[in-house]
Symmetry: C2
Subunit: 230 residues, 2 copies
């Protein structure tokens, strides 16, 4: 069991990739340890062996798996005796939908709010690359995105409405205890928490209470990561 997780490196030990957080929580869920290797945006040669340039990448002996969803499937298949991430094909189907929804609907709205803060947390070697690519994506400077972000906070909170409803009668998206669908959505908030002091959620929001529960699981594993306690 020599697992290695290649994940995005930030400044001062910050590891803010939401996709890596999905995998980190999945590994904890299954009680698996992995050596964590930090990869900079501008030094993707480290993961060239994976045949692509995105993190996370999981190495398991001679096997290499990239993409957080594929890694979850791989862990589920190779460690069937450990607690399940999906609890079968129906649960996997629901998680797959939530995965796509998080990527397509939630991440862009959180990114709009924290991108300048993420820039501050990016590794010094990566700052020029990050600024160029992200400002081009938005067609705006980090400063102007930052100054106008309060106008976009409501839209992010509104898109969370299905999460709020799903938590009405259960403490976690997956029911009485957390599983992979929770880790997917939580990854988005942990991305923000590791990189930004901006308060995304109001204290009375059920999503806030759920995030607190997620920070507590696995002995406070995610809470212990360098970040901002908002």
């Amino acid at each position: 069991m020599a697992l290695t997780l290649f994940e995005l490196a930030g400044d001062q030990g910050r590891r803010f990739s939401p996709f890596s957080w999905r995998t980190l929580m999945a590994l904890r869920h299954k009680g698996l340890d992995a050596e964590r290797v930090a990869v900079k945006f501008t030094n993707k040669d480290v993961i060239a062996f994976s045949g692509q340039d995105r993190v996370p990448v999981l190495g398991d002996g001679d096997t290499t798996v990239s993409d957080s969803w594929a890694i979850a499937d791989y862990l589920e298949q190779t460690h069937p005796q450990t607690p399940s991430l999906f609890s079968g094909t129906v649960g996997r189907g629901g998680a797959k939908f939530i995965n796509a929804w998080t990527d397509l609907q939630l991440h862009p709205r959180i990114s709009r709010l924290i991108v300048r803060d993420v820039y501050d947390s990016v590794h010094p070697d990566d700052k020029a690359h990050f600024k160029e690519t992200r400002e081009a994506r938005y067609g705006a400077s980090f400063d102007s995105l930052h100054e106008t972000r309060d106008q976009h906070l409501g839209a992010m909170r509104e898109v969370l409405a299905p999460v709020r409803v799903a938590l009405e009668d259960q403490p976690f998206l997956c029911g009485e205890s957390a599983a992979y669908a929770d880790y997917i959505v939580f990854g988005a908030f942990q991305w923000a928490r590791c990189a930004s002091p901006y308060a995304l959620l109001e204290g009375h929001d059920p999503v806030h209470a759920w995030r607190e529960r997620m920070l507590d699981v696995f002995g406070g594993f995610a809470r212990a990561a360098p970040g901002y306690p908002v």
Copy 2:
């Protein structure tokens, strides 16, 4: 096993309620029959016994259950020997999220496109009530909503993106065969199909192919319902 399903009545035998379709498919999934009783918008006295005024309502002997989600839970609990709708709590959690997403994100966008057509399919006794309440909701006349609907088609197709991604590697949202999460999203399309000739989906859309599969399950049960084959 004397089940009765109270569902919204349309004109000429059309039963277009998306919520009733969730329950109709769930009953088929479990191999259960129910007497179907049509209820008009303007004659909710028929379901006054349920203590509220929305359909579907399921009657099971002395037990009354309203709200499609509560009905699914009830069927799952009272018929544990039949095929499961959720396959456990994790699957139920994913379905709950998809239920909320469908209600909050998908239904409003489909409604915007078909509301004038739904009006045409509403029972004659209900037309005045439906027109008044729906035009007030939109702040616009049915005619103007109808004339401008093509401008809103793209937004509906775009919000389906997570469904499209979820279907990339499996024929149904729930995996190899359909279950409750599929019925939730399908209910929205069956609502449209029963009431509107408007083509919501392009032929090459994976969501279109999935809808065809859904129309085929249970021996073409949903396909046989009066509607428009688009």
